[in-house]
């Protein structure tokens, strides 16, 4: 078989041109994309976050309302292809989680009440790389523990989301805030009431406003308004 160097000059030129063309095509071809963001499935929020929540980081959801709605949409997005874990302090209401599109058979629910149990469960879940998303309620932990968990999430590529209680004191948030790569502050906006008062009246939905308080990868102080519909 003839090698390129043994080819006649005209064919050698043609071969070189073909090779150059192939190289250019290879450079231009889309490379396999490593998913570095988990979209929340809420366009307004994803737009502000530059495509979604960054994997391999610690994210906090704070504020008085809307945190678990956003968390549930994240679970729904992740469980399409992978698994998610929720460290539950007993407040989870699975029917609403299912309504948001989450596949419950792919959601591990780990019951943990104490701060230590929550931290240990988060540690095992992040370290095991079994689930792409781990949701934890914010327990009272030292800053060093949050830094360690954030480091673990970074090494394993897992998205660790800490959901703070409403009106959480700054003493609870401060240790977490330093380690978090993204902080979202969620509030409830306009409430829509359908029907008159009483038995014919239902709450049709409300707006959830998410304000970025910290983002290591992009500019902060952006706001997104997403609609939460009850029915």
């Amino acid at each position: 078989m003839a090698t390129p160097t043994q080819l006649p000059p005209s064919r050698h030129t043609a071969f070189a041109a073909l090779k150059a063309g192939l190289d250019n095509a290879a450079l231009a071809a889309p490379r396999p994309r490593i998913e570095s963001k988990i979209p929340s499935s809420v366009p307004a929020l994803d737009r502000v976050l530059g495509g979604g929540f960054p994997t391999g980081s610690l994210v906090t959801l704070e504020g008085p309302a809307g945190r678990w709605s956003i968390a549930a949409s994240l679970v729904a997005s992740v469980t399409r292809r992978s698994a998610a874990a929720i460290v539950d302090d007993g407040a989870l209401y699975p029917p609403d989680l299912a309504r948001s599109g989450a596949r419950l058979e792919r959601v591990l629910v780990v019951l943990a009440q104490s701060s230590l149990a929550i931290a240990r469960a988060a540690d095992v879940l992040v370290r095991s790389k079994a689930c792409r998303l781990v949701l934890v309620p914010v327990p009272e932990l030292r800053a060093a523990v949050w830094v360690r968990l954030a480091g673990l999430a970074h090494r394993t590529g897992i998205l660790l989301v800490a959901v703070a209680p409403p009106h959480a004191p700054s003493a609870l948030i401060a240790p977490l805030a330093a380690a978090a790569a993204l902080r979202l502050y969620c509030t409830r906006g306009r409430l829509e009431i359908v029907g008159k008062r009483g038995v014919w009246c239902t709450i049709g939905g409300y707006d959830v406003c998410a304000e970025i308080r910290k983002n290591r990868n992009a500019a902060t102080e952006q706001r997104a308004v997403a609609r939460a519909a009850v029915c």
């Binding site: 209401y93 609403d96 419950l104 240990r120």
Partner: protein, 431 residues
């Protein structure tokens, strides 16, 4: 008497007994002493391939009778070169042998019913005057098959002394286990893990040799004080990989305390499955049941609580609309199914359950107007929807009536409250 053995064809010993033998599997195991190749045709009918076995047919039958005596007393034995001949021989009389080369003449005078032809076809053949196997063998093959269908080809071949049914030896129960005893004692975790790794590598080598995968492992730990601890280690999906097994076993042992040093270990592979393990290409971020099984074992060992999986169900009462089961990782599914799933692009408010607490509610015009709880100052109700009446257990003593409301309070909290009897309760808040 000439044996049905020309070096190539089978010599089948048929054991025919009642179909209601309770210990049929044990009888088949006992037949292994007669021949290593046993075909379990159906309960009450088995064939043993005697080709190459030492001894005479009389000795084979004697050995067989001795082997099966504990299980059945009225079994009939017969020998033939194929299943039909051997079975027919056993039917004619215990110990009958169908001579090789004369199968057709051996079968010819016998009743057609011995060929196990379906009753309708048998009746039609009788009406046509075909009553003996020899009559059927004399019919021209082509027209007979055209008239009676494809299955008639087999009947005709059997009538001619050629049974196309293959001899299928039954699989033997494989026990794969590895153990380590009497090599000292240890209370060091690292040594135990090392020993487990050695045992698991042996198990995996045996599994690979047999072409099988294990769905679970049974680990027996023997202690110096003569106590034992047994662990049933369930693998998420059957595997033959040592690394996966070791991960799950390690996770299972985390947090376990032994009362005395360990002196012995035994690992047994269970729930064996045939074949290799399916792997998905290009599935880096996909659902991995094995990794989840490891995480579950580790969490359960650490927290002492089972990892749960929620399941929704129809119910009137809020609390009964879901149940928790022990988490079982689902099997990996094709990706295209999951991509076809759609997720709604709006947020769904999530009700966060609270421990049910009694609250004070001031009612105006039949609706909640203000809510008072121990933890917070009184809050006015800005918006209210409801009531939704829930009645359960009206047919029993546990009759419950409650009126549920969603109320928006002046501090922005959206709550689910209910009235049961004269009392008001806070059930949860929307987030």
């Amino acid at each position: 008497m000439q044996l049905p053995n020309n070096g190539r064809s089978h010599v089948l010993l048929c054991v025919s007994a009642s179909a209601e033998i309770p210990s049929w599997e044990e009888l088949l195991d006992a037949l292994d002493a007669v021949s290593p190749l046993v075909d379990d045709a159906r309960p009450g009918l088995a064939f043993a391939d005697m080709r190459g076995s030492p001894g005479t047919p009389a000795e084979w039958m004697q050995r067989t009778r001795e082997a099966i005596a504990p299980f059945v007393l009225d079994a009939r034995l017969g020998i033939g070169s194929n299943k039909t001949c051997a079975r027919t021989a056993s039917h004619l009389g215990d110990g009958t042998i169908c001579p090789a080369g004369s199968e057709r003449s051996f079968l010819a005078p016998l009743s057609l019913a011995l060929l196990e032809i379906d009753p309708k076809a048998l009746e039609r053949l009788r009406l046509l005057g075909v009553e003996r196997i020899g009559d059927l063998a004399r019919l021209p093959h082509g027209p007979f098959v055209r008239r009676f269908g494809p299955q008639a080809a087999r009947w005709h071949a059997c009538a001619c002394g050629r049974d196309p049914a293959p001899f299928v030896p039954r699989g033997h129960c494989v026990a794969i286990e590895a153990s380590m005893f009497g090599e000292g004692r240890t209370d060091d975790e690292a040594q135990v893990i090392f020993a487990l790794r050695v045992l698991l590598s042996r198990i995996c080598a045996d599994l690979e040799r047999c072409g099988k995968r294990a769905g679970s492992l049974q680990l027996d730990v023997e202690l110096e004080d003569a106590g034992t601890q047994n662990f049933d280690v369930v693998l998420a999906s059957p595997t033959g990989r040592e690394r996966d097994m070791l991960d799950v076993v390690r996770a299972k042992l985390e947090g376990v305390r032994f009362e005395a040093p360990i002196v012995g270990l035994r690992v047994r592979a269970a729930r064996l499955e045939e074949g290799g393990e399916k792997v998905a290409l290009f599935a880096g971020g996909d659902f991995d049941p094995q990794a989840i099984a490891v995480a579950i074992s580790r969490l359960e060992a650490m927290l002492g609580e089972p990892v749960r999986q929620a399941r929704t169900r129809s119910a009137h009462v809020l609390e009964e609309r879901f149940v928790y089961d022990r988490y079982v990782p689902p099997k990996r599914e094709p990706i295209h199914e999951e991509r076809s799933q759609t997720v709604c692009d709006t947020l769904i408010p999530q009700l966060r359950l609270m421990s049910v607490t009694e609250i004070g509610v001031r009612v105006r015009n039949g609706e909640p107007a203000a809510v008072t709880s121990d933890a917070k100052p009184p809050r006015a109700v800005v918006e209210c929807s409801g009531p939704w009446r829930v009645e359960i257990g009206w047919f029993s003593d546990a009759y419950v009536v409650r009126d549920e409301y969603d109320v928006l309070l002046d501090d922005g909290e959206l709550c689910r409250i209910y009235r049961q009897g004269a009392q008001w309760y806070l059930r949860g808040s929307y987030d």
